[in-house]
Amino acid sequence: MNNVFVYIEIGEQNKVADVSLELLTKGRKLATQLGVELECICIGSKLDGIETQVMPYGVDKVHVFDDARLFPYTSLPHTAAVVNLFKEENPQICLMGATVIGRDLGPRVSSALHSGLTADCTQLEIDGFDMKVKEGDTFVEKHYDNQLMQIRPAFGGSIIATIVNPEHRPQMATVRDGVMKKEILDVNYKGQVIKHNPADYIDDAAYVVKVLERHVEEAKHNLKGANIVVAGGYGVGSKEGFEQLFQLAHELHAEVGASRAAVDAGWVDHDRQIGQTGVTVRPKVYIACGISGAIQHIAGMKESGIIISINNDPNAPINQIADYNIQGNIEEVVPKLIKYYKANSK
């Protein structure tokens, strides 16, 4: 009872999504700090052995719901399994990926249980605080211990808000892929596997939405995990301009990212967008080419080690957080970087 739960997202060939493993890593830390257990929920089809993917992250209990109709994901059956399990288990915290699935499922669960849900958290911490609460007609100062601090950017990244929901359980939060770190706790960690009968939790009537056709591609790049990112913005000027960035990235064994403006202009694929509504990256080196640095973009890359900005606008906001600011045109500077690197790399 009152444990920390993580909803596990299960993809093609029953591979657990990275974001779920990242959340287990965070969930383990929160559970340890609270002195409770870490549990997770696996819902899908042919899940025998699924626990081997999650246990090493320190999971004490793995709840399994296995039915051919539970993959691919549809909203109502997964909602019913989670909601009805939570009614029995009363978790104090529930974490989900801020993915298409997590953002489809989380709000339904919170709506059914009347619990608070904070989307797209960038930090999660345990802390105590005082808050004025209404009791009858008067306000009284109340102290709360061991609460989940749900920290997220808001208003297009211009503010950081700390959200709490002290009077409702579970405290629910979603976190984007790549925001938390994934770390195996112990390869031999032994937890318990609990196989539930899906029919006890999910009414047949819940299977009303049918997936007629599905097309999923393996990610074409590893932007999230790249050590070096070459990112382009509106200042790159064209699709051809991006070809140069791809060349530089190829030489440096880097990945190419982009700002929303460059994606909207159609110069580069949507899945390469970096920022609050795209991918969060924290590479060792971030080379920003022709990116002005809207706050939404900076929110997704400010943790980068070394930031190099190439821009002909000396007043571009990104220059303020850059370690190096090369004032110049992309088409002039990028070939020079390539040329020097080709001649001098070890």
Binding site: V100, D104, T162, V209
Partner: protein, 266 residues
């Protein structure tokens, strides 16, 4: 004939934070941002208008919750082809988080009573939470299709839609009534129709308060919101020590040399 409800929200334009909205301390002055029709709600309206064309006799009712000024999105919706608008406004509904908002909207939809499809944008740009659509669906006990890119057909009580999923797309079929949230990658909304603008400049919209939708006081506004904002911190862009370089061969070669020698790259 389809009865369609489109949920829309008037939001501060957080996608276009210009220098005029920045304070001298480097934070965003939210009051200085103009308000706009939430962009993805316009994508939702377009899907509704297409359904109306496919199924003659269908009606589109816009529903918004907000300050009285939010009636502007109802009018904009009617200019573009919606039939009616309902404004849900009441001080008692203010300060609501997504859950209290969805309860209030669900109560208003119950009062409308007769509906086949509830369409709304995937998310609003002031919060980016994507919660209200699914929360409304759960409150009404309806199925949902989120992240919709296109409604492919709607016949015999079934809707077929193509939706975005992580790493791909899928086509799903669901029964009416249903909640459909529409992605920004869906077709953009058509522009205003001049005749409709002329005819509806002074159109009156139905206005409801908390009492009209039979709202439980404990489920609306601040009281109905499980989440509390504990603290808000404005982001300040702190200038770093930045090395200024030119595009000269010397500056660039020195930088690359430094990065290679320190094993930062290479």
């Amino acid at each position: 004939m389809l009865k369609i409800i489109v949920l829309a929200k008037q939001v501060p334009d957080t996608h276009n934070v210009g220098p005029e909205a920045m304070t001298p301390e480097g934070t965003v002055n939210r009051a200085a941002l103009p308000t706009v029709f939430n962009p993805e709600d316009l994508n939702a309206l377009e899907q509704a208008l297409r359904l109306k064309e496919q199924v003659p006799g269908s009606t589109i009712t816009m529903l918004t919750m907000g300050l009285p000024k939010a009636a502007e999105v109802l009018r904009e919706g009617v200019y573009r082809g919606a039939d009616e608008g309902i404004l849900l406004t009441d001080r008692a509904l203010g300060g609501a988080d997504t859950l209290a908002t969805s309860y209030s909207l669900a109560q208003a939809i119950r009062k409308v009573g007769d509906y086949d499809i509830i369409l709304c944008g995937r998310q609003a740009i002031d919060g980016d939470t994507a919660q209200v659509g699914p929360q409304v669906a759960e409150k009404l006990g309806l199925p949902q299709i989120t992240y919709t890119e296109e409604i492919l057909s709607c016949e015999n009580g079934k809707i077929v839609a193509r939706r975005h999923i992580d790493g791909g797309v899928e086509t799903v079929e669901g029964p009416l009534p249903i909640v459909v949230t529409v992605n920004g990658s869906a077709a953009p909304c058509r522009v205003r129709n001049v005749k409709r603008v002329m005819a509806n400049k002074h159109k009156e919209f139905t206005t409801w308060g908390a009492a009209d939708i039979d709202a439980d006081p404990m489920q609306i506004g601040k009281a109905g919101s499980p989440t509390n904002v504990k603290t808000v911190k404005s982001i300040v862009f702190k200038a770093k020590e930045t090395k200024q370089l030119t595009a000269s061969d010397e500056d660039i070669n020195n930088l690359m040399k430094e990065l290679i020698e320190s094993n930062t790259i290479g």
